[in-house]
Amino acid sequence: MFMTSCAAVIYSNMFLLSSKRILKFSWQHFWRNVWLSIVTITIIILTLFSLTTLILVNAIAEAAVNSIRTTVDVSLYFDNKISGEAVELLRNELTEKIPEIKEIIYISPQEALDEFKQKHQADADIQASLAELESNPLGATLILKAYNVDDYPQIMEKVTSMQAETLAEKIDYDDHRLLISRINDFADKIRTFSLVLSLIFIAIALLTVFNTVRMGIYIHRKEIGIMRLVGASNWFIRLPFVIEGLFYALFGCLIFWGLIFLVLNFIAPWINNFFTGINFNIQAYLIANVVNIFGFELIVISMINVISAVIAMGRHLKV
C-alpha cells in the first residue's frame, strides 16, 4: 500500500520534465566549474588534434601512394617499320597470356607524333625538323597497366620472354616500388607517432575528465546529499555528471573543428604546396569528410568522458 501509492506517481512522472531538469543541472555543473571546464575542453581539443593528425597522415599517405601507383606502367616502343597489325596481334597475345594486366593502351604512330609535337610545340627547332621529315619517324607504343603495382616485375618477366622483346625497340619500366615502400615506411612512422600521441592524450583526457567530475561531485556534495534526502532517484543524481562529460565532448569537438577551418582558411595554400604532385587538397578532404571524422571523434571523446564520469561516480558518489 505504502509503496504502490507513490510508485505510479514516481515512474509515470513526467520523464521529459525530469530530463529537462537533468540537463539544467548538467549545465549548472558546467558553468559553476567553468575554469575546470575550460581546462578539460582544452585537453579534449589536444586529443582531437592528435586524432585528426592520425587520420590526415593516413589520408595523405594513401593519396601519395595512389598518385605514384597511377604513374607506374610498362611501355613498349616499336620501330616505325613494325606494322600496326603486328602490334595489334602482340597486344592480343599479351592480354591473353598475362592475366595480371589490367589494360593495354595502344598509341598509334600518328598519335605518338601528335603528342610529341604537342609536347615540344614551344621548341621551334624541333618543329622545323619535324616539318622537314617526309614520313613519321615514330612507331606505335603499347602501355601496359597492371591491376596491382606489385605485379609489374612479373609482367616484365613475361613480356621479355615473349615475342614482344624481339618486336619492341625499347621496353621501358620504372620501378617505383622502392619509392612507395619509402612513403609507406615514412607514413607508418608518423602514424605510430600520432597513435602514441593520441593514446597519451586519451589517457590525459580520461584523467582530466575523471578529476573534473570528482571535483564536481565534491563541489555539489551538499546538493547531492539533499537530493538523496528528498528522494531523488539515482539516475537523477548521476546523469548530470554523465551529461556534463558529454557537454565537454561536444564543445571540445565544435571548438576544435571551428578552429581547424578558421586556421585552414589562412594556411591551406601554404600546406597544399607540400602536396603538389600527389593530388591532395587538405581543405577539400576535410570538408568532404567532416561529418564522418567529426562523428567518429565525437563518439570516441564522448565514450572516454562517459567512462571517466562513471568511474569517478563509482569511486566518489555513493547514492
Binding site: 509503496m3 514516481i10 512522472n13 520534465l17 539533499i226 534526502l229 528528498v230 528522494g231 547514492v319
Partner: protein
C-alpha cells in the same frame, strides 16, 4: 506505521550501535526518541530511511518491509518520510521557495503543481512572507521551518526530526516543537530524536529511551529520565 522487529546493527569495525530493538509506532503518533549521544538514535533513523541496513531483524513501514529494500526503491521510500536535521541542510544559493521546490523538482513535479504546493506548505510552517529570501538572511528557527517545509513537500506520512532544535535558542525551540505538534495534528506520524530534556518533558507524549543501543524504557506519556 513504523515497526522495528529485533533490529540490531553492527558496523564492520565491530561496533554494535543498536542491539535487538523492537518497537511499534502507530500512525499519527508523536514519539520522542531520547538518549545521550552515541546511544544509537541516529543509527535507528538511518535504518528507517534506508541509509543503513540492519545486521539483524526487520523494518516494516506502512506494511512495506524495507529490510532488504532494493537500491532503486530507496527514493520512493524517502519521498514517504520527511527528515529534518539539526544543521537544516538548505541550499544557500536558492531562495526559501526554491529550497522547498527543489524536493518536488527532483521528483519530476511540473511547475504548475510546484507553484500550488510550495506556498501551501510555506503557509503551514508560517514562513510564507519569506519565500524570496535566501537562507542566510533567516534566523535559525526560520531556517528550520524551511527545512521542515521541504520535508513536508511530498506530504509524507512520517516526519523524522533528528535533533531539530540543537542549534536553536529556547524561543525558537518552542516554536519548532509547536510546529511539529501542529503537523502531527494533521495525522502525520512524528518521530522526534532529541536529548533536550525540557522539550521532551513539556510534550507529555510517548517517550522511548535508548542506552547503549538498547531500548531501556518506552512510556506513553513519558518524561526524559536518563
Amino acid at each position: 506505521m513504523i515497526e522495528l522487529r529485533n533490529i540490531s546493527k553492527t558496523y564492520p569495525n565491530g561496533t554494535e550501535a543498536v542491539h535487538n530493538v523492537t518497537l511499534h509506532i502507530r500512525p499519527g503518533e508523536f514519539v520522542s526518541l531520547v538518549g545521550r549521544s552515541g546511544t544509537g538514535k541516529t543509527t535507528l533513523v538511518k535504518m528507517i530511511v534506508a541509509e543503513e541496513r540492519p545486521t539483524q531483524g526487520r523494518i516494516i513501514l506502512g506494511g512495506w518491509d524495507i529490510t532488504r529494500i532494493k537500491v532503486a526503491h530507496i527514493p520512493l521510500l524517502r519521498r514517504q518520510i520527511g527528515v529534518v536535521f539539526q544543521d537544516f541542510k538548505l541550499l544557500e544559493k536558492r531562495t526559501v521557495f526554491e529550497n522547498v521546490a527543489f524536493a518536488l523538482e527532483v521528483a519530476g513535479y511540473n511547475k504548475k503543481r510546484i507553484n500550488e504546493v510550495v506556498p501551501q506548505i510555506l503557509r503551514l510552517v508560517g514562513i510564507e512572507e519569506k519565500k524570496d529570501v535566501f537562507p542566510d538572511e533567516l534566523s535559525g528557527g526560520q531556517q528550520q521551518r524551511v527545512s521542515i517545509a521541504r520535508a513536508l513537500a511530498h506530504r509524507p506520512k512520517i516526519l523524522i526530526a533528528d535533533e531539530p532544535t540543537g542549534n536553536l535558542d529556547s524561543v525558537n525551540t518552542r516554536e519548532i516543537i509547536d510546529l511539529l505538534q501542529k503537523i502531527n495534528k494533521f495525522k502525520t506520524t512524528v518521530m522526534l530524536v532529541t536529548h533536550n530534556r525540557e522539550v521532551v518533558n513539556s510534550l507529555k507524549k510517548r517517550v522511548i529511551g535508548l542506552e547503549d543501543g538498547r531500548i531501556v524504557y518506552d512510556q506513553l506519556r513519558g518524561r526524559y529520565i536518563l
